[in-house]
Subunit: 340 residues, 2 copies
Amino acid sequence: MEKDVTIYDIAKLLQLSPATVSRALNDHPAINSNTKVIIASKAKEMGYRSNMFASNLRRQRTSTIGVIVPRLDSAFMSTVLAGMEKVANEANYNLIISQSLESFKKEVANTKTMFDSRVDGLLVSLASDTENLDHFNTFFRKGIPMILFDRVIEQKNCTNIVIDNVKAGYEATAHLIDQGCRRIMHITGSIKRNVYADRLKGYRLALMDHGLEGADELVKITNLTREDGVQAAADIQQMNSPPDGLFVASDFCAVSCMGALMQAGVSIPDDMAVVGFNDDPVAQVIQPSLTTIHYPGQEMGEIAAQSLINHLNGLLRINTTNTILLNYELIVRKSSQRHL
Amino acid sequence: MEKDVTIYDIAKLLQLSPATVSRALNDHPAINSNTKVIIASKAKEMGYRSNMFASNLRRQRTSTIGVIVPRLDSAFMSTVLAGMEKVANEANYNLIISQSLESFKKEVANTKTMFDSRVDGLLVSLASDTENLDHFNTFFRKGIPMILFDRVIEQKNCTNIVIDNVKAGYEATAHLIDQGCRRIMHITGSIKRNVYADRLKGYRLALMDHGLEGADELVKITNLTREDGVQAAADIQQMNSPPDGLFVASDFCAVSCMGALMQAGVSIPDDMAVVGFNDDPVAQVIQPSLTTIHYPGQEMGEIAAQSLINHLNGLLRINTTNTILLNYELIVRKSSQRHL
DNA sequence: TTTATTAAAGCAATCGGTTGCATAACAATT
DNA sequence: AATTGTTATGCAACCGATTGCTTTAATAAA
């Protein structure tokens, strides 16, 4: 069990005061650059590592960013986190990551933990049933900045990083119309969440713009699970006039629904053209491959983390910037491509 | 911007010393239970939260556990982490999570960050090209405990939590043999990793036990990506005597290979029976559904975290327990079930 | 030579909770 | 009454880095 090297050890060895050592290691201008070199090399030689706790205690900050996401198990979220980690590391920030598992209750619990950990800032993507941001009030009161990404609620003094889900929903739907669909069903998640509410809005706009009429039975609000996909397929079979196009707000659910439909003898894309959302890896391995909306996770993570860090360093006022929109892309694959 | 409440504030208000307040909040036996109640309620009323940094600094521990995993984006890993989080929360430990993205280099970097964060213990699942545990030496020297799970390297004084991959590989292969397969191909990942080396071993044992001969061309070492699956399918098409069974060490790769084979006209399971590994959600949505090996992620996470915490609390010597084996289960679905 | 200026380094308090040891108050025992 | 024991609390040092203010030394200016 080795003991940790402290600045006092270095100071004693070099016949200097701890204050000088501390300043030197932090590149303080009042320290002779020659002294800095000597101290730095001695520190390295002795295997010195700053004690974050002493430093944090004194500085009243933690160099830690809290991240709360609904789930970790999506390829999308994984790339978002990779992006955040990259930026955070470069800026010498640490990440504390936790998942709400789509539960508001757990999100609140995570929020408490983050508060106790005294994170300097917060990056959050909301659980599906979160309706307001009151549980973050402790943070707001202390002036701890927060950035919401992907699943957001608009609120002043809180930057949002999102894609234009209305437009993406519109485009997905318009693409189906282009392929000749006239009766398009939309399967989506809780419309408490902007992502789903907006995609639905886009879907409706597209129908309207193309002179198609919507119908209540053509919009299904679900949890977007595998079972929901199967159930939707069963429901479709029961309909008097079944749809000829399907826009699902999540790839995984789209795939399970597609599978169930095909087993029931529905031909895809000819009887039913399908578009998903997110560009999950499954979209490529499935037969037929799934048309979907792709959007940049890594970039979203990087921008979120960078904006927060810039704000913490006083380089950017978060409350002035309010929404950052990223680009998405419709990726056309076989599930929707009819040979007209 | 509110200011934080400290034990000094509480002490002053109650005309007590900070020491008493501290002891009361930590349920120290020397404090009158009545006093404890008064202090606790006052603390709550004032919204007191312990300053972890002061506490950590003094106690020389952090109540933080570092977790390094290859990737976050698998359903399996997500449940592992959920299990760890649950146990850690209950024991008042925090989790710092990072992903190596299967790169040894990044794993080393993560290790350094963890060390700087002074985690009390480490839970690690190794990157695919990690060959030894030398980068953890700084931890060993300081007596910081580490538990490896799933992707491990055996080493004394380091508990491993795994399933019996040899047996699982054996069982998967034997199942294919049961279904009438006589020429079984195995697609796997880097055999530097125990999980893949062991599954391969099990595969070979099963062949041997059933009097089947293996062949070099029947074993493919890949990265288990989507592309590798497609490539494998292409290779199979080129073979003089193609296999009639396929055991792939990862569901995702199995699915992409299966898809490519089916497109080439191969009938599954009749021409080719397929077994995957991991029970990824994709196994259920694919057509035909994929036979696979399921193993308990949540449990693995809980046990790993609990063992580590027990060790930290002196309730368990990690170095005496060396390997914990969890159960797995072969889940037979349509991709391998022949109607004999 | 004296004074002002600047550069470099040190002193000592501080952050907030923890803990070994001392102390006070009171009860029990001899 | 004196001694021992018990219970509850306080004192003060400590963890290690940071930082406002002071001091020292060296150099420049008067």
